[in-house]
């Protein structure tokens, strides 16, 4: 008794091959990756506040609370980087590879600018991860997020190369769009992290 019955249903071959939309496994994979990362970052934020609420003073050990100017500038640059990425995505949906590449480059430059400013900021502090728990959690959060920015920049470079080699078109661009999705995630997650690392000192 086998289900592979004698009768067969025609028409299966008319279905699209590897759909280029949100029913694609690849799209789901990216959503789940982002979800896992959200859980990770939530864990970091919870740890931050856990340490903070049990600490006698915060920041610990007489460290002064962070100045807002430089971090705000870098945050603005990072947030801005989402715009060219969005533009790049919509360009390739119309089949415009040239604009796709320009958008990718612009985002990449903004991402690198963010990283440089973060580097200047953090290496300018007079404490580091080994100073005390405050140093540990702030350096870890910032470092973990920067590692994400670095990896998404590398990813963009790869997509750029593939675009140059002519792999993307109006019909085939899922790879570009899930890359864009991840980029937006790395940008948006900086909002709660920015609040945690900087603004929360001034709020409560």
């Amino acid at each position: 008794m086998s289900v592979e019955a004698q009768r067969t249903r025609p028409g299966a071959m008319d279905l699209p091959l590897n759909a280029n939309d949100q029913s694609a496994p690849l799209w789901w994979g990216m959503i789940l990756l982002i979800l896992i990362e959200v859980v990770l970052f939530t864990g970091l934020i919870v740890s931050y506040f856990y340490l903070r609420f049990y600490a006698p003073e915060w920041p610990l050990g007489g460290i002064s609370r962070p100045d807002l100017l430089l971090p705000s500038i870098s945050a603005v640059l990072l947030f801005a980087s989402s715009a060219p990425m969005y533009w790049a995505d919509s360009s390739i949906k119309k089949g415009n590879v040239r604009n796709l590449k320009i958008g990718l480059i612009l985002s990449l430059l903004l991402g690198i600018a963010f990283l440089v400013l973060k580097g200047i900021e953090y290496f300018g502090y007079d404490y580091n991860w080994a100073t005390n728990a405050y140093g540990s959690i702030t350096w870890t959060i910032a470092g973990f997020h920067s590692a994400h920015v670095i990896s998404v920049c590398l990813k963009v470079a790869v997509v750029f190369t593939a675009a140059t080699a002519g792999y993307f078109s109006e019909e085939r661009n899922l790879g570009v769009r899930i890359n864009g999705l991840y980029w937006h995630f790395v940008v948006v997650i900086w909002v709660p992290l920015f609040f945690t690392l900087y603004l929360s000192h001034y709020v409560f």
């Binding site: 008794m1 299966a12 091959l17 694609a24 864990g43 856990y50 870890t140």
Partner: protein
């Protein structure tokens, strides 16, 4: 457009070369590797346990030194929890989910292969350390500050932190793959309410992993940083908190118990209907119970910390939520009993024995669980052998019993040969009786004050007698499992041929040959009921539905909609590649390299990066196929 141009599916090079083995991605090959590796770890950890009970058999023995004992119980617990119990469930999922849902592959076969290598490497690293006498020794939950750099200098606990954080990649990868496979690749017509219960349980567990494993990963990475680069997360003098470790660990650790238990529920819900020859009583309540347990298990973790500082309110809340888990568990027990009770033709096979034997053991473990969820009771027995007895009833009785049942049930499908039934029943009785002798006694020993995690005890405390009984029981358990092991070896060579559907079961994995062909199904079945092979028994099915014809090319399978299983697309899945292995090696260098020089971390990461680019690079061939 021209589908005939598609290369045949090389999920596994049929030439038996080493390269073929290293590049394989077929879900059955990978699933089988997970299963075999997990059982190997089970045997190893079981031997450690037998040595431990031998050491404890009488007061003042010297079979194991104190240092060795610490490593033994830590490695026993870690191996059982991280390298056996969870992986075996994932492995069975990877092997059987596509077969049960009528698909030809899992989503992302290469990623799947990568997950296996990570799992294997992290486990092997720990066992090499044990052979060198340098294994972790601070218990499987590895509390700080004991596990911090001050009280546990040396490489032992470093290996805990690094191996567990590395291993979590494998768990997360497998979970993501299983979720997507179940959501997007079911046979047409298999709406979500027609999914086999085992598939449901794997789905629930995969979602739990997505939420439970990242906090653990975070905790172990923070611990590694504390130990290797001098951060202060868990070190009190620097403003850290050792309680933070406990919270992060148990936020994972309690769901972990259900990550192990829920697939076991799914297994019992698969075996009992087949051998009672009726559908599962209460499909909906059983599935809902599993979902509810999965969700609520995230709200219980603090019950592991009753003996720490907690407010009364927190204790009351977590005590009540812990006890409430008994309700959905009870619902399932009644469903199983009703299934047997109303079955049309009971067949008392070995698989059935193991599944039924599970029920009383799970109930006993559940009752002692409700007992320890009351804080005053917990304070009395905390850290005694009572707790050890409790969780072995849940873990070994509640999880390993159904698992062995499932081995008897699915072995014919995997190998094409039946396991010997007589040996199976002998194995069951030895294990069942020995288990109760060993672990029921431990409740008593625990009440009388015997602490866990001590390598020996003095004379005159009254523990020598019961520990001797435990030793006898444990040896019988060992013999029981050994019988099944022997059975596996004999039967895979000379067991009776199984045929496609030896149990006359109703789910789709039995619709294909045993062992399944490389492409699982010749054409993709169309599904109209929960037990597609039981047309006669299922009222809502008319006749054999027509199947979907896809080319006899196993790289292509069907993609369907998430809820209703409506056909949406054809999926072309990727084929064999060496890159998953290369990437896993890069990861291994990055993680364990940290112990040698921090420069190896970026070095290993670069290897991984290069290989992931090569792996995903749209090949020329592929591009042609897709356009």
């Amino acid at each position: 457009m021209t589908d005939s141009a598609i290369r045949p599916y090389v999920t596994r090079d049929t030439r038996a070369t080493a390269l073929a083995a290293l590049t394989a991605v077929d879900h059955k090959t990978i699933g089988l590797r997970w299963i075999i590796t997990a059982f190997a770890f089970f045997i190893g950890a079981g031997l450690l346990a037998l040595t431990m009970v031998t050491q404890l058999m009488q007061p003042g023995l010297n079979v194991l030194s104190m240092e060795a004992y610490n490593q033994f119980f830590t490695m026993h617990g870690m191996t059982m929890m991280f390298f056996f119990a969870v992986p075996i469930m994932l492995g069975l999922g990877i092997y059987f989910v596509p077969l049960m849902i009528g698909a030809r592959e899992v989503a992302f076969p290469r990623l799947n292969a990568f997950g296996y290598w990570v799992y294997a490497f992290s486990g092997i690293a720990l066992w090499i350390a044990l052979l060198m006498g340098r294994a972790p020794d601070a218990g499987w939950f590895n509390y700080t500050p004991l596990s911090g750099p001050v009280y546990s200098p040396g490489i032992n606990v470093d290996l805990y932190a690094l191996s567990i954080s590395f291993l979590e990649f494998a768990n997360l990868v497998a979970a993501v793959i299983l979720i997507i496979t179940i959501f997007k690749m079911r046979a047409p017509g298999m709406s979500i309410n027609r999914m086999p219960v085992f598939v449901w349980s794997i789905l629930v567990v995969a979602w739990m992993i997505v939420f439970a494993m990242p906090p653990l990963m975070l905790a172990t990475i923070m611990l590694a940083l504390d130990r290797i680069v001098g951060t202060h997360f868990f070190r009190i003098p620097g403003g850290g908190s050792s309680h933070l470790w406990q919270h992060l660990f148990w936020f994972f650790g309690h769901p972990e118990v259900y990550i192990i238990a829920i697939p076991a529920f799914g297994m019992v819900s698969t075996i009992l209907p087949t051998f009672s020859r009726r559908r599962l009583v209460g499909y909906l309540p059983v599935v809902l119970s599993q979902v509810i347990i999965g969700i609520t298990s995230f709200g219980l973790w603090v019950h592991h910390m009753f003996a720490g500082e907690l407010s009364v309110l927190a204790m009351t809340f977590f005590a009540a939520s812990s006890m409430s888990i008994a309700i959905p568990s009870g619902v399932q027990v009644f469903a199983w009993i009703a299934t047997i009770w109303t079955g049309t033709k009971l067949r008392l096979t070995a698989a059935f024995y193991w599944a039924v034997g599970f029920i009383p053991l799970f109930v006993i473990g559940g009752i002692t669980g409700v007992m320890v969820s009351a804080p005053p009771f917990d304070w009395q027995v905390h850290d005694t052998h009572f707790v050890t007895a409790h969780f072995h009833y849940v873990l070994l009785g509640g999880s390993v019993f159904p698992l062995i049942g499932m081995l008897y049930y699915w072995f014919p499908k995997m190998t094409g040969r039946m396991l010997n039934e007589k040996l199976g029943k002998l194995s069951f009785w030895l294990t069942f009786v020995g288990f109760n002798i060993a672990f029921f006694t431990m409740h008593y020993t625990g009440f009388h004050g015997m602490p866990r995690r001590v390598h020996t005890y003095m004379e005159g405390l009254g523990w020598g007698g019961p520990m001797l009984i435990t030793w006898i029981g444990a040896m019988i358990v060992g013999a029981g499992f050994a019988v099944t092991l022997v059975n596996v070896f004999i039967s895979q060579a000379s067991g009776e041929p199984a045929g496609d559907n030896p149990w006359e079961a109703g789910t789709l994995e039995w619709a294909t040959t045993s062992p399944p062909a490389r492409h699982n199904f010749d054409s993709i079945p169309a599904v109209v009921s929960r037990n597609p092979l039981w047309y006669a028994l299922e009222q809502d099915a008319d006749a054999t539905p027509a199947a979907y014809e896809l080319p006899d090319n196993d790289r292509m399978t069907m993609g369907t909609s998430t809820l209703d299983g409506e056909p949406e697309q054809r999926l072309l899945v990727s084929d064999a590649s060496i890159q998953p292995l290369v990437m896993a090696i890069g990861g291994t260098v990055a993680f364990y390299g940290a112990l040698v020089s921090l420069w190896l971390v970026p070095f290993g990461a670069s290897i991984a990066f290069v290989s992931i680019v090569m792996w995903n690079w749209p090949g020329r061939n592929r591009e042609k196929e897709q356009s």
